[in-house]
Symmetry: C2
Subunit: 337 residues, 2 copies
Amino acid sequence: MTGTTLRLDEIEELTRRALGHHGLGAGQAAAVARIVTAAEADECRSHGLYRLPGYVAALRSGRVAADAVPQVRRLTPGFVRVDGGGGFAPAAAEAGRPALMEAAAANGIAAMALTRCHHFSALWADVEPLAEAGFVSWAFVVGQCSVAPFGGATRLMGTNPIAFGWPRPGGHPFVFDFATSAAARGEVELKRLAGEALPPGWALGPDGAPTDDPARALAGALLPFGGHKGSALSMMVELIAAPLIGEATSRAVAGLDIHDGGPPPGGELFIAIDPKVVAPGSGWADAAERFFADASAQPGLRLPSERRYAARARTRRDGVAVPESLMEQIRVLLPQD
Amino acid sequence: MTGTTLRLDEIEELTRRALGHHGLGAGQAAAVARIVTAAEADECRSHGLYRLPGYVAALRSGRVAADAVPQVRRLTPGFVRVDGGGGFAPAAAEAGRPALMEAAAANGIAAMALTRCHHFSALWADVEPLAEAGFVSWAFVVGQCSVAPFGGATRLMGTNPIAFGWPRPGGHPFVFDFATSAAARGEVELKRLAGEALPPGWALGPDGAPTDDPARALAGALLPFGGHKGSALSMMVELIAAPLIGEATSRAVAGLDIHDGGPPPGGELFIAIDPKVVAPGSGWADAAERFFADASAQPGLRLPSERRYAARARTRRDGVAVPESLMEQIRVLLPQD
């Protein structure tokens, strides 16, 4: 595979330039560039430079407000609302984060609702800064409407990811982030391109019956992970990251799609707890470290996010190899001078 | 099967008398009796009268403080701590609930930590009253140490259930409650008694290899539901329902067990959000009802807890058939006059 090796700062600068060239305000462009770079750093390619054409498409079509400035409001001492103004979610998340952390530190627990923004990004990137700052934290977002409930036959929920972060003083936080569907749509698409059958439990065809055919799955519905339990969690995310914060469900959003390839609109719910307030003097961090040590003592066990942190160390040192096909798509998004 | 049919109020009175006869204070006994009755009403037998001998054993052995009076303290405007005083968890949960609801209504979001109490009960019974009062709510508790992490080979986590409740004005709330293990220990025990093999993915033997033999599973470890995703959730529950609130992990508790058959000690974390504060005027309840209507329009789909509510209507009308073998165990716990 031919390609170009880019340093992380080059990826960030490239992204910012492409978005600025298409009219995105400096604050929004910087926030998106940080997220794209974080994804490439951790080898989460599906949230990295691969998304840049979609971000630009959303600016060209006017789906996203290029000049949006997120408005942060403290609704109560423990609840923050951020109106994203129709811009990209990373800028809204960054704008609200200091208020969320302040509220959690004062109250023990606090929440933040992002509304009116557009999502393409990985949720771990939203909880990690909170966990690094010492907060136990969650993020929930409603994905594209593509998942049938357990026992059902047609699309009802989004892929509805859940992310959780736990602070580990002196080290990288414990972070997980997963879709509540058995597989992401992108994984099904890759199976289709490779001509491979789907594993059992991934999807239903348009007739509502289980299928191992990726094309029929893409025309039908994905299944939740873990049977009725994963299905219940997916319903929970649909409820708390949409109606609870006054945002649209995945099905309502699907009806509004303008098919420009840009990120779908939607809200996001954050919850943060400050263990220093909630369990002072209890040795909470040490007790958790004993738990992690017991886990890591089991041969073959890898804690969530350990692979990402290893990738991060590698890409900081060696840079990121960007495939030539992707570089070509990106070059045309830059100022041609 | 021979047995006795009892009305729900008879079950409650029977439970209260048995516990009072063994010295439990009136407030504690009433709270436990309400939980046992709620479980029988919903045909969740494993949390009903079946548990009464274990409750009494804990009083006889002194494991549980018979005269415990839960102490409720508002740590911050948004965080409630309840010291259970070594008593039973239902009394601690009831004692703290008004403060939790008040805090959530004032702040939008609030949390409550129960500490120093003993758990035998179903978590849905903890979130349902909060959801009925209009709060979106969660409960998390650490179960008996019996689950190996995904990719691991030996016990690390408890069965670590998660419960969630969503208020549905005018109707029963949407509630789910499930162990993050693939199956409960009781289900494995039933398979052993029936001489049946376990389904794949339930358990590991003492050698750490997958097993379908219930006896080897009980000597080994259960597996989380849903692969690495369920395993991550189980780890989350272990962290937030133990270290985060200054309580012991399942592994630490296992080392303290006195094997009297009584409920294990442990904490519980509640989170409650008031949608009236968080999304006022957004039509949050109607949007959720449209989601539930879309779900229920799918043939064959049953929402979580619908089976329990149907059972409740039936047992309120017809009472509960208690098997003779269980009635015999219960009669000896009552005053013999």
